[in-house]
């Protein structure tokens, strides 16, 4: 039976593997290759420069500002988004007042809330970013108008124009745009947890706090972990790029307070004609992403519960 097994398997896999190699592995390898050249992106004339691009990275203060902001996003965005998502999902499914017949249930109107929370997910990223940009407009935006209306005439921040606030403003928009998805994802996960567990806990006199941390969260751990990685990649990658590019001053400012790695890659390639240097930034972004995934996989390793 063993005879020809490999040939058999390879026969099935050859096409997908070839596609994978051409469209996934080869760009990676090419990017690493280009990061050792002085390619401008505008001409095929280039030469190898060894580790020059990388030594330059170490001295580039903008690069380090970008690393700092990207890592801040990476640390905070998943925590806040997932916590909010978990909290809302819990309230929608388990957190409601106890009613007759049902052991557990969501708060009143939970069906409507679910739709409302999911709504931002339907909007495309640029639209969300633009909407928030209007809200943050210091001169006629909703936020400052609100402050004025409640008599806080002196509290009129510049929002995106203030280096202390800009990154938080952008983070706020990103959280708003993403929480809904996790509410729905975690809701689905929670509904598959058997009701008996909750019943038993309630009989033992557990309150909501305990039910959440002793039952819901452990049984949902796999989903949370997946969400964590997904959210982390979002924070490092395209999503952060789109939000910063559309919303921030400059973009990337004021004073580099919102510069993130993907934006810096874009600027170096398309504005400064330094594609070789840009790929070396891209490679360092890859390294940050790999470290992040490794840490999350490591920390998240737990025994799986079958139910």
């Amino acid at each position: 039976m063993q005879h020809g097994k490999y040939r058999f398997i390879v026969g099935f896999l050859v096409i997908p593997l070839a596609i994978y190699a051409i469209f996934v592995i080869s760009p990676f390898v090419q990017a690493i290759y280009y990061s050792f050249t002085d390619w401008t992106g505008l001409s095929s004339d280039m030469k190898m420069v060894g580790f020059d691009n990388y030594t330059r990275l170490f001295k580039d203060s903008v690069f380090w500002a970008a690393v700092g902001n990207s890592v801040t996003l990476l640390l905070l965005l998943p925590v806040v988004t997932l916590s909010l998502g978990l909290f809302f999902a819990f309230m929608l499914n388990v957190g409601g007042r106890r009613r007759k017949k049902a052991v557990i249930g969501g708060v009143r109107g939970s069906g409507t809330y679910k739709i409302l929370y999911f709504f931002p997910q339907v909007l495309s990223i640029p639209i969300v970013a633009l909407l928030f940009q209007f809200a943050y407009n210091p001169e006629s935006g909703a936020l400052n108008a609100f402050f004025k209306a409640i008599g806080l005439d002196n509290v009129q921040p510049d929002w995106l124009g203030d280096p202390q606030l800009a990154l938080w403003c952008i983070m706020g928009a990103m959280i708003w745009a993403n929480v809904g998805f996790y509410v729905v994802l975690f809701s689905a996960g929670m509904s598959s947890i058997p009701k008996d567990f909750y019943e038993a806990a309630l009989l033992d006199g557990a309150n909501r706090f305990n039910t959440f941390f002793r039952i819901t969260l452990p049984l949902l751990w796999d989903t949370v972990q997946t969400g964590w990685i997904y959210m982390g990649i979002l924070a490092l990658d395209v999503s952060a790029f789109a939000f910063v590019q559309i919303m921030s001053v400059g973009p990337g400012g004021p004073d580099y307070s919102t510069e993130v790695l993907p934006l810096y890659v874009y600027q170096k390639t398309f504005r400064d004609g330094q594609a070789g240097y840009a790929t070396s930034i891209g490679v360092s972004l890859l390294i940050v992403t790999l470290i992040f995934s490794a840490i999350v996989m490591r920390l998240g390793r737990r025994e799986r519960l079958e139910f």
């Binding site: 058999f8 401008t40 505008l42 004339d45 004073d255």
Partner: protein, 480 residues
Amino acid sequence: MGSTSDFSRRDLIKRAAALGIVTVPAMSALSACASSGDGGGEKVEKGQKSAKNPLAVNDSAALDVVIFDGGFGDKYAKDAQAEYVAAFPKTKGKVKLASTQKIQSTLQPRFNGGNPPDLVDNSGAEQMDFGTLVSKNQLADLTPLLDAPSIDDPDKKVRDTLRPGVVEMGQFGGKETWIMYYAYTVYGVWYSKTNLQKVADAEYPKTWDEMLAVCEKAKKKGVAGWTYPGKYPYYLPFSLYPFIAKIGGEEVLRKIDNLEPNAWKDPAVKAAFDAYYELYKKGYILKGSPGLDHLQSQKAWAEGKALFIPNGSWVENESAKQIEKNPDFQLSVGAPSSLSSSDKMPFGTIWASGGEPYIVPRQAKNVPGGMEMLRIMLSKKSSQNFIKQVSSLTSLNGGTEGLKLPPGLASAQQALEQAGKNIVNPRLQDWYVALQKEKIGVGALGEMMAGRMTPDEAITKIQKYADETREDSSVKKYKR
């Protein structure tokens, strides 16, 4: 069914990784995708040189033009395309004109592959870096075009029909001219004559003291003196740089452009920065300006919430909808006010320069065709067509006779006449884009005008940025 017990997941991963390594050597072949062929495609044959065809265009060869589809649209280029076909009837159906906002992403593969179009309007947010294009020898020298007779007057070379400074702008320190700027932009302090009259009962302030007095009057009526797009603070130089030149002479800007050590420490720079900073300190800047983008600040300004805005002559077209709401707006442009009587240059000194940079790629198939198209565009007929369509001047000197110009453009024309020889043209924004926009603009000027940095701190920081750019070997340097 084969047993899979000895074929664990770990094995699979190992083998997949091995496969990945095997593919590596193949990469050198693949990477040629991004860097293949530098030989350039076959060129089309030259045509017969004649009085009507001084560039020896092949009268039946295809032409490939790519236009940036921005504030000026592409209608004017399509009209010129029709003129080209009329001049060379055999090219009918072979003259392609594409317009896009994504110049670099569209054209990068074609430049790398050695088959670029014959004429490109390299403009907009995805403008390809000129320094790189020039240093990598990707552009054709436009000297034949400049030395060809103009369409309107065969006795005059194209070179002699252009506005002063346009040819020099297209040069990068050598004799060759790489870029033909088609539009002509006047930068300065833009305002509504009517609003100014209504709010401050004043004409445009010719001295800085008058400027402060006007702003003070406006403040009492609840109107801000100035606003600016804080999201893109590199609009501030549109009035600030000519102000510096006016105070300390054109020499100061030249030193700044040449990245000379301590160029920014010139007392003229400090005086100009101090004056602008005073606008902030006295509360003459529209509240919230640091968080506005260009359209938002222009809207607030057009609605009369602020009197002045540093901008360029495209503002008339860009904010047309808001300006039209007040038919009596009387859009005007002012040159920087005089700081004191010891200013080195007279009142009227203004920044004007070319916009919409057109290039003819060196590897293009039909280089003479690309230049001929430019020659047609620089005729009086095409130029007037452009002025009428987008209310902006072109690089063709004059050519506005008999046209009824909209108020902003008429005022820009008048400002140019008043300036005479005193037109300055700082090059920082096309030579060192990152330095000008991101570092000086966002990193220092924006911070200073938001009150988070004093003029001294801003100058120190800018000088540091300029020094870093000078030392940075990856940035090509230019001198003027």
